[in-house]
């Protein structure tokens, strides 16, 4: 029950800010971006926390959905409610394709292959301008509509919150299922899992499909919410920083990625003209978490409570 409270608290925190912010557009926008990162980090946690893989392709997969939804709605004339699932499905398909290296490569080599593929995707986003408009990116993507009218703030942020809750719910259901237990078994000892009758490839591929679908939802929501997509928004550092949110909050927990996103996502907005400091702070956090807090803030708290 404690966990449910923690989740509720972490998700409600930005929403409280939302309704007390009033006319402060800036704060409202930060809330929206934080919620999108909560969703993305929760999806990545499925791969990193539960399946034990570091998917450095994650931002690229989200980007594919972002570009796809932007294209579908602006040039294909589809509504948000149709474009988003289609873009996410495309992301899931690409994610399954990109999970192929995981059949052969483990640990470091898998992460490295992700780094390579992500870099190739970033280049592709710039060099296939027909669908991406190259370096400039696609601007003025219309906001989602509901009953024929564009959804205004703060209702659009509430919609994002609903998506976050849905994703957390899906991850929670997975973790209670045999599928989730299989993923953890594979993460802990792949050979043993296989010897116990677990199909490693199948489970891993399915986890990639689901996580990529979630990445796709995140990417699509980002496109609609920010109204602008460019290659920068989906490069390798973005993958790394979404990983940092999941890792710093606490891998393999439901609260962790939400907490990590809550702490890290708003940060760049408060640095004003010193945005470059964001890279320094995030980079330092990556090093510190890897060195001293491998189970993340929430994981650390859980351990401390277990000991006392």
């Amino acid at each position: 029950m404690n966990r449910a409270l923690a989740i509720a608290f972490v998700i409600l925190a930005p929403l409280v800010v939302l309704f007390t912010a009033g006319d402060n557009q800036f704060l409202v926008f930060i809330v929206g971006i934080t919620l999108i990162h909560m969703l993305l980090a929760s999806g990545l946690n499925l791969l990193y926390g539960y399946t034990g893989l570091i998917p450095l392709t994650y931002a690229g997969i989200a980007g594919i959905s972002a570009y796809a939804t932007a294209n579908l709605s602006m040039f294909g004339g589809l509504s948000f409610w149709l474009a988003l699932p289609l873009g996410s499905l495309l992301a899931a398909a690409v994610g399954v394709l990109l999970s192929l290296p995981a059949i052969r490569l483990r640990g470091f080599y898998f992460a490295l292959s992700g780094l390579v593929i992500q870099s190739a995707m970033s280049i592709a986003f710039v060099y296939f301008p027909r669908y991406t408009n190259g370096d400039t990116g696609i601007a003025s993507i219309p906001r989602p509509t509901l009953f024929g009218a564009a959804l205004p703030s703060p209702w659009i942020e509430c919609l994002l919150g609903v998506f976050v809750i849905a994703v957390v719910g899906v991850v929670w259901l997975i973790m209670r299922s045999r599928f989730g237990a299989s993923l953890i078994a594979i993460r802990e000892d792949e050979d043993l899992a296989r010897a116990l009758g677990v199909s490693v490839t199948l489970n891993r591929t399915v986890s990639f499909a689901i996580a990529s679908f979630i990445a796709g939802i995140g990417g699509g929501l980002y496109a609609y919410y920010v109204g602008f997509v460019s290659p920068r928004a989906f490069d390798v550092l973005v993958s790394l920083n979404i990983w940092l949110m999941a890792a710093m909050g606490g891998r393999a927990t439901l609260v962790g990625p939400l907490l990590g996103a809550l702490i890290l996502a708003p940060l760049p907005f408060f640095l004003q003209q010193y945005t470059w400091l964001k890279d320094v702070i995030y980079g330092l956090a990556i090093i510190l978490v890897t060195m001293y807090l491998p189970s993340g803030i929430y994981g650390y708290l859980l351990k401390r409570r277990a000991r006392s």
Binding site: Y109, V116, S119, W276, L277, I286, I287
Partner: protein
């Protein structure tokens, strides 16, 4: 004059120069990864940092070469020493440390790229040094800039020196012993943590040399760091971690690819090709072409 011939010669000379500089930076990376199992993702940022410092000391402060170059090496060495002491050494006992190292050095790369943006990025967009030598070397009938010819000669010297050091010198042999078989090396009484520290410093210094030489030949911009990281990772994986000869051969091939592609199309296509080559190699033979 025959335009085709001119083009051919320009491709050959720029391929050689770019290729040897690629090889130098990749050799630094390969030395570090081959010995410590440390995939230095920030190696490209170290390369860029060396070039930027050289530019700052030599061109902005107008200090003479004999001050600017040693000071650049010293500054990067201090950074490498601190990194080893504060961060890297904590992971030496871990068996699967390469994954932690990849993440940590990606973090380091992010820090460095942020720092460059906040400091150098405020000064200018491209960093062109005032060349210490001017004029052209004329290989009848083709003129080659003296600065580039010197950069090429020095880069080749660094590589040859490194190969000779690894084969001849006592410490160099100990390094080779570690990347051939780290367990046997430990049994033979080689002090691995010390060798690791030495390898990291040496590799970083080799990369620094690459950065200075690149700055001598070409203008830098802040995106070069990531590109160089990717290219040299590709060279290392294809050539085989720990193999300097592998880095040299593959580096030259990549350099020529870059030079040829630049003539007919966008050089980014060359980067695409490197990434594909690396991915293919990861699948087929992660230990690389030149592994024992």
């Amino acid at each position: 004059m025959d335009e085709f011939l001119l083009l051919t010669v320009s491709v050959i000379t720029s391929g050689l120069l770019v290729g040897t500089i690629f090889s130098v930076v990749a050799a630094g990376l390969s030395l570090i990864h081959g010995t410590i199992l440390l995939p230095q993702a920030a190696n490209g940022q170290v390369f860029l940092g060396a070039g930027l410092l050289f530019w700052l000391f030599g061109t902005t402060f107008e200090w003479p070469l004999w001050v600017a170059v040693p000071l650049t090496f010293l500054a990067v060495a201090a950074f490498a020493f601190a990194t080893e002491r504060l961060v890297l050494r904590h992971f030496y006992p871990l068996k699967d440390r390469n994954i932690s190292y990849l993440i940590i050095t990606l973090g380091l790369a992010q820090i460095l790229s942020g720092v460059y943006t906040g400091t150098f990025g405020k000064m200018t967009d491209t960093f062109q040094i005032v060349p210490p030598v001017t004029g052209f070397l004329v290989l009848e009938p083709f003129p080659i800039s003296n600065a580039r010819a010197i950069a090429f000669a020095l880069a080749a010297l660094v590589l040859v020196g490194l190969i000779v050091f690894l084969r001849m010198h006592r410490i160099g042999r100990a390094l080779r012993a570690v990347f051939q078989n780290r367990d046997v090396a430990r049994l033979r009484g080689i002090n691995t943590p010390r060798i690791y520290r030495f390898a990291f410093l040496l590799g970083t210094m080799v990369t620094t040399a690459g950065g200075i030489l690149y700055a001598l030949a070409y203008a830098l911009d802040l995106s070069v760091g990531w590109t160089m990281s990717l290219i040299t990772f590709a060279i290392m994986i294809v050539g085989g971690p720990g193999s300097i000869v592998g880095a040299l051969c593959v580096g030259l091939v990549f350099g020529f690819t870059q030079a040829i592609v630049s003539v007919i199309a966008d050089p980014t296509i060359a980067t695409f090709a490197y990434l594909l080559a690396m991915l293919a190699m990861l699948f087929v033979r992660p230990s690389g072409l030149f592994a024992r």
